[in-house]
Amino acid sequence: MTTEQILWLLPLPPLLAFVFIILFTNRWKVLSFSIAVAAAAISWIGSMVIFSRAVALHEFGKFIFQSNINWLPTGDTYLRIGVMVDPLTAVTLFFVGWTVLMIFIYSIGYHNFGKPKGDHDRAGLQPHGATVKDEHGHAHTELSVEPMFSRFFAFIGLFAFGMYTLVVSDNLLTLFVGWEIMGLCSYLLIGFWYGKPSARAAAIKAFMTTRVGDVFMLLGIVYLYSVTGTLNYREIFYNPEVLHVLGNTYTPLGISVASAIAILIFIGIIGKSAQWPLHVWLPDAMEGPTPVSAMIHAATMVSAGVYLAIRIYPLASAGGGVHNLTPAMMTMGIIGCFTALFAATIAVAQNDIKKVLAYSTISQLGFMIAALGIGAYVAAAFHLVTHAFFKALLFLGSGSVIHGVEHGALHTGEHVDPQDMFNMGGLRKKMPITFWTFLIGGLALSGFPFVTAGFWSKDEILADAFAHGQWLVFFVLVLAATLTAFYTMRQITLTFFGAPRTKAAEHAKETPWTMTLPLILLGVFAVVAGWAGIPEALTAGTIPNWFHEFVGATLFEHPEPLVFNFTPMLDSILISLGGLSLGWLVYRKVKAGDPDPLVKPMGPVHRLLRNKWYFDEFYAYFVVKPTIWMSEVFTSLWMDRMVIDGILNAVGGIIGRVGHAFRNYFDAPVVNGFGDFLGEGTKWIGKESAPLVQRGRIQGYMVASLTVIIILAVAFFFFRP
Amino acid sequence: MQDPIGNLYNWLMGWLVSWGVDQAISNILLSLVGIVILVTIAMVLDVFLVWIERKVVARFQDRLGPNRIGPWGIFQPFADIIKLLIKEDTTPNGADVFVFNLAPILSLASVLLLWAVLPIAEVVFGVDLNVALLYIVAAGAIGTLSVIMAGWSSNNKFALVGAYRMVANMISYEIPMVVILLIPAILTGSMSMLTISQSQEQYWFVLVVPLAALVFLISAIAELGRSPFDLNEGESEIVSGFHIEYSGMKFGLFYAGELLHAFTFGAFISILFFGGYNGPGVTQMPVLGVFYFFIKAMIGYWIIMWVKYTVPRIRIDHMLYFNWKFLVPFSISILVMTAVMHKSLSGYETPVYVGGMLAANLVLGWITIEILRAQARKQRKMDDPNSRVVAELTH
């Protein structure tokens, strides 16, 4: 098949899997997950083929794979949709393909396939475990299979469809479609255990928060379409004339059109990849099953946000560039830096193993956005790829840990929170594979020098910041990186080293191969993915910086490679090692029941961090409450009942008066006509205005709305500029 | 003598214009004249159809039929008309007079409308409409309307029930009929009756799609509301249905409408599947087509009569089941089969093409019969008393 054909067909298998599972194989677990995994595998093969062909192609970037069709006739023109692979898409497809497949496989084990049915499990709640008799005849509880096993695979299938659609699409419209599909799936999967109120709340929260961004994003897309008449990437982002025009025409706000559009779309990105101030949904999203956390909230969906940000970089930088930042880039830089630091600080004080990872995800995404903000295009893409790998690895590892601890808890019948790191410890011996892979991931996250992928990507971001003399950004990111290393080591130490702090941790058990295999494979990538982008100068030009060459070709004029400088590299070495060792020293000997050693020295600051800077409360008080008040008190009570009804009453009254006045002047003498004029008038108010206000009479509504429409239309017709 | 109507038209046109009548106006006038002539022919034919019907039914029932007035009683219809005219013209109490009087007129008009698109010969036709097949359906819709108007306006529960039955009948059987009407359209690539007739010079479509012809015949009979589908006027249950309240000439209009409708559908069958006016020597002398057309139409009409006077009336639920569970799927499968085969065989020369289509039809028919047989067997086993008794005994 030609690459274009593969591209068109790429998103299809997961969708088919979704349909099949929902409609037919809902009852048979084996069939369901085999279909789902097979679909994921097909898409994976497809993306690998595309990636290899893309890499093989000479001068890829100037010449790309693309095909598009007329979709909707709009008058004489058409709304075109299509698919495309340029270098950015290629690398994105690479990691999406891998992570998605890994997570599909992992989910089989995570949902305890092959384990017995739970004693009192029911759909919508986590499995509570099942009692089984071993050969000696005495019963003990072990993990039980997920009641809604098939449904889960259907959902993630749909999700994978959305992600592939988003990646291969060649225009913002289909991208938006995939984007929203993923939003829906995120909602469904976070609320997968809808029996838990917290999960329900988290699902709604995630959905609503991302909607806030999406509205702006849609505005941006519409704006872009209205300005350029197309939504195709190539025609806009690879087209210097268009970019130049957009960059140099100015909106009434004073910023260029390009920046305005970029900022609008960027707000959507803020929502999707959980940047401050719309980050609140991501930590709560950890209510979902861990594969979901890995897939949506580490590897794919949040990456999609950054992917889009990288896409629109030409727009954001139009009319400016690396050396004079456009407003859009500044926005990105500021928000990215702040998010990176702020999330890192929160992560330091969390005890839930998944929450820590959630905040670290936010902070790493902040890194990428900040990198884009300072024009470090390639670095952002690079970190996106490596981060996807090691963060997926970490999440899956944490899931494996939780799984092991849960097993222990069920085994011992001890009721502990299996996600609290202070209930763990000493898992190194119990679950070796998980430990080693998790360690690799953690080191990659904290940028352990020279071997891990995270080091190279993060270093490149820092180097860019340094080279472009963005000192503020540089220092903030350095600080954030230090914290990253610190909390990563804190996590690893608390989880794996030392002595078990609970019986559950003691009886923890290594997870089945379906869960460990993905860990290993991802672990490999968490190391080797970084070698694609080793700075040329470091290897004395023997190995070219392949990633830079490759992805740089996405832009019309390639970003020039950096002049190499040892300062940022030394910095990143030092901070990573320093942070790691610090974390090790602080958390080395935490006994069972000890509080977090940082509580005493930091005091209130720690409480602030532990409570996530009180952001949820902030929103609750300053956004949610006012909204409710607005809807309930202001709109309903005041506007509806007082103002609108008042107006309508008045209208009815006046019309009544007029109509009646005429009759009186024709019929009866004015004088005694005047008497019942008032009385009749008031009666008319009651009689005539009643149907106008909300009395549930549909035609009354029609009349009222039509009146308003006519008035507005006349106004526009006569007073139009 | 190649194109008599055309010559006549040109002559009259020239005559009028020479009299100083405007071109457009005279055109309209001549069209009106043509309409009048066509309708008159139809009505006169209708009168004799009464006689034919009575003769044929008499033969079916082993009687002589009308044989007093005129040779072979050929003037019997006039006697009937006179009788109808001198009968009292009643209007029931509480009837909606306007609608009540409008209904029979519409009923006859809906039939006469059909004559506009009948290609009586290659040079003798009302109008060559490029959507004639749809036009037929449209006229049928008007017929339905007239029925429901009659049933509602005569303020009589039997009439209303009859109208409901008739409407249910017509609307249901319209579906297979429309589907089958698509088949000649597929074969000729046109919905014009004239084109359909012309494209049957070599072979009649009945050879290509016999099953379609059969289904069309059935649904046509149902559309006409004649036996075995004459539930709308089941004398035993609802005394003669929707036109129970009509007497005198109004009833006469309904009656004439029904007979003419039957004949017209015979004509449609002959046009769509039996080559219309095509016959030996038509190419040399187009007017000969008129003769062939009427012969074929009469044969079609005779078949309809044959069915009517042979097959007893069926129950309404049977009728609807037969339509929805058998006829509609069957006609759709015929449509699909025809489309596919036509597309795949259209390249070959005529014998191969016709043979292939015929074979496909036979195969489809055989499959259908097998399915029906299997179902009938199951049904029989289900409501066979002995087997049930056996089943109970074994328990």
Partner: protein
């Protein structure tokens, strides 16, 4: 020949009459009837613009056909609603079906 304006005026008039019926008739079935009038007015406009515009671009007729489909669907669902409302409230007067009020 007939100028375009005739058709436009006709359809405008038909539309207004239908609108009046929709807003003023009591009987829900009558409201649906009036909706049909409005849809027909729209169709007249579509076809007229097709005829007076570029003949080869069939957009007008195509959308007239789609309006047919929409009308059929609307009538089917609307009448079904009316009938079920009639079962529930034993009336089809639009003003008497006013549960949706505060």
């Amino acid at each position: 020949m007939i100028p375009l304006s005739w058709f436009l005026i006709l359809s405008a008039a038909l539309f207004s009459i239908g609108l009046f019926g929709v807003m003023a008739r009591k009987n829900a079935v009558a409201i649906l009837l009036s909706v049909e009038l409005m849809l027909n007015a729209v169709n007249i406009n579509l076809v007229a613009f097709w005829r007076y515009g570029n003949i080869v671009n069939m957009a007008g007729q195509v959308f007239a056909i789609i309006v047919f489909a929409v009308a059929a669907a609307e009538v089917a669902v609307g009448l079904a609603l009316v009938i079920s409302v009639y079962r529930r409230f034993n009336t089809v007067v639009a003003d008497e079906i006013d549960l949706m009020k505060w």
